[in-house]
């Protein structure tokens, strides 16, 4: 009989939360399988057959325009400039009539899924992609909608998806953070909220591929590893003494965990974060851009056992095209398209795509009606995200928006449904991944969410 302990229970069983950290070196020597077998995750619900072990979340901050990229709507031409009653939905800002997309859509892959000319590289991997054209969310404003996408709630206090996943499953590599965010501004994308702070995402910039700039000052050039270990052990003893006097403190535990992880990262991370060690052909495939660096690093991190990687398209809320959407997309899509496609292709080539979920999207989409004559407003009613790998069906476009691309109409998928489905593929029942806080059990999906079985292979 296998007794499954949560990580917290295991720490306590081993003589107190803080005591375990002295054993960090012992964990570092374990194989992936042994670490998994050690049950370092906190999920204690029914074990579903897990298809995926890792998640790479590609986030396009601002709300990319689905109508110009994934959701062709030729009917818009017939009603250009008009505002038929069927699309009389409230928008966040003042908007005018319908504005057709000028971009060409072609059919790709074994099922002839239509994809815009803006994404010629992603079009080549469409057979790996499950394009969900019927996403909807619950808020038209960036900050709450971003929180919804990343935490399942509009509130600014809830843990991010990456935190929930690493809380549930633990890590496969004790020498690295389990949850890493590349080019991320933090906030809901990395927040651990009420979960223990060791599950917070660790943010690294990717503007420069030099690992010394991605993780500055990581390697202590003045004190050798043994002396550092002695320092940390001395600090640990002080903290243990504090704990005996004042009781366990989860924030202190989180800080200690972070320091221990940083100590261990010295021996692995600089090599791992050095994409210059990749063959030039691979670097060329991803492209010489910060987003290309982010996607290539994400693959390397997943390969090394990092559980959850968030890759932001750098530049802040840059996909928020209230003006000049056509020109902006023509400038911005090529490097995004190249790197995202390269990531999927590369994971597939290495046999990692089956165990890695790649999720792509923004906090909402954009309206089919124009704003400022050349832009599009926020659209939470219907938009597109895609998922690749991790046991999702490939080569399909699931669901549909209305004739004008405004509102999800067929097989609607809420943001909570997507979260529930992601957790399902990671082997967790979303209703059972809970954390007791302030007197009640919390979930990533709160009281919502249905697993979308139609899109699972």
């Amino acid at each position: 009989m296998k007794i499954k302990l949560s990580r917290r229970e295991m720490l306590e069983a081993l003589g107190g939360g803080l005591g375990i950290f002295g054993l960090a070196g012992a964990f570092a020597g374990l194989s992936r399988g042994e670490v998994q077998a050690a049950g370092l995750g906190n999920y204690t619900g029914p074990a579903l057959p897990a298809k995926a072990k890792h998640v790479i979340m590609i986030y396009l901050n601002g709300g990319p325009s689905q109508i110009d990229m994934f959701d062709p709507k030729p009917a818009l031409f017939k009603y250009a400039g008009q505002r038929p009653s069927a699309v009389d939905l409230r928008t966040e800002r003042v908007t005018a009539g319908l504005m057709p997309s000028p971009f060409e859509f072609k059919r790709y892959g074994r099922n002839g899924v239509e994809i815009s000319e803006l994404l010629p590289q992603l079009a080549t991997v469409v057979d790996e992609m499950c394009i969900i054209r019927s996403m909807y969310t619950f808020n038209p404003t960036h900050t709450p909608a971003r929180a919804l996408l990343h935490t399942g709630s509009v509130l600014a206090t809830r843990p991010s998806t990456g935190s929930w996943v690493t809380y549930g499953l633990g890590t496969e590599n004790q020498n690295l953070p389990a949850f890493i965010a590349l080019a991320s501004p933090g906030g809901p994308m990395t927040r651990s909220g009420f979960l223990p702070s060791e599950y917070q995402g660790v943010v690294f910039p990717v503007n420069d591929p030099d690992p010394e700039k991605i993780i500055p000052n990581l390697r202590n050039k003045n004190v050798d590893a043994n002396a550092q270990r002695a320092d940390l052990d001395a600090l640990l003893a002080l903290n243990q003494s504090y704990t005996k006097s004042f009781g366990a403190d989860q924030f202190l535990e989180g800080r200690i965990k972070s320091m221990e992880t940083a100590y261990r990262m010295q021996f692995e991370a600089l090599d791992l974060f050095d994409i210059r060690k990749e063959p030039q052909s691979i670097r060329d495939e991803y492209g010489p851009t910060p987003f290309g660096t982010g996607c290539l690093l994400a693959r390397r991190l997943v390969e090394a056992g990092v559980r959850f990687v968030n890759v932001d398209y750098p530049g802040g809320q840059i996909w928020d095209d209230h003006r000049d959407v056509n020109d902006n997309l023509r400038k911005r899509c090529p490097d995004m398209d190249q790197a995202a496609a390269a990531l999927i292709r590369d994971l597939k080539r290495r046999g990692l795509l089956d165990e890695t979920l790649v999720v792509w999207g923004g906090e909402f989409g954009r309206t089919p009606v124009s704003e400022s004559g050349s832009g599009r407003d926020h659209n939470p009613y219907g938009y597109t995200m895609f998922v690749a790998g991790g046991g999702f069906k490939g080569g399909i476009a699931y669901g549909a928006t209305d004739d004008f691309g405004f509102k999800a109409a067929e097989n609607r998928v809420s943001i909570h449904d997507l979260h529930a489905t992601l957790l399902h593929q990671l082997g967790m029942d979303h209703t059972k991944l809970t954390y007791r806080y302030a007197g009640r059990d919390f979930r990533l999906t709160d009281v919502f969410g249905e697993v979308v079985k139609d899109i699972l292979a």
Binding site: P74, F77, G81, P102, E104, R107, P288, D327, P334
Partner: protein
Amino acid sequence: MRNLVVAFAGLVFCAVVAARPAAQQTVARKTVREAVYTEAQAERGKKVYEANCVTCHLPDLDGSANPDAGARGAPLVGTRFVQDFGESRVSALFNKMKRDMPSGRPGALTDQEYLDAAAFVLQRNKFPAGAAELTEETAGEFWIPGAGGAEGLENYTFVTTVGCLYQDPTRSWLLTDAQALKKTELPARGAAPALAAPDGRGEFTFRLLDAISYNPDPHNGHKVSVTGYMVRLGAEIRVNVQSLQMVGSSCGK
């Protein structure tokens, strides 16, 4: 009262002039159709191109539009070139090259080499060579024309034209050798659209949107009449197809 009428008429005139589409206002511009480089300069530019640009943009300058090559450079010929540089001065092309190219070592060439490479690109886009070389000064004077064929038409105007239906290597459907777009009336519900008459070969190329909904494959290489909505993308003109009808079994080439 008469003064009021005159003033009102004047206002209307000013408003109409101010509202003229950009395409009409550019008619008097000097364009590269007036021969702004020499054959010898384009030949030098070809050598510069082959040494510095060909890896990304490919020998035929079709770059990322070539589906089999896996190249990363933007196409420097065809509709994409028109999109990117149409209705711009040649200096925009020169400055773009000088600022960003060659990839990974921008600004590494001399100004003369950049001008020669620009001349080569103009040559490959079928603009004529002449007696004078392209210089920085003339690059700032001469314009690269837009796609044309839609002068005076507003975005989303319902139009008709005749041309040669052609699927390019990227599987885009184009109407080549097409006549200028003509505004036409939207057909009444159930009625056939007013098709353009097949009267000779035109000079324009339009990319067709949503042609795949009209089973175009059997008509690849045929002369067809198209109606649809005109749409501008940068300086390129496109047509969202609403009807497509064969009017000749060949394009007469």
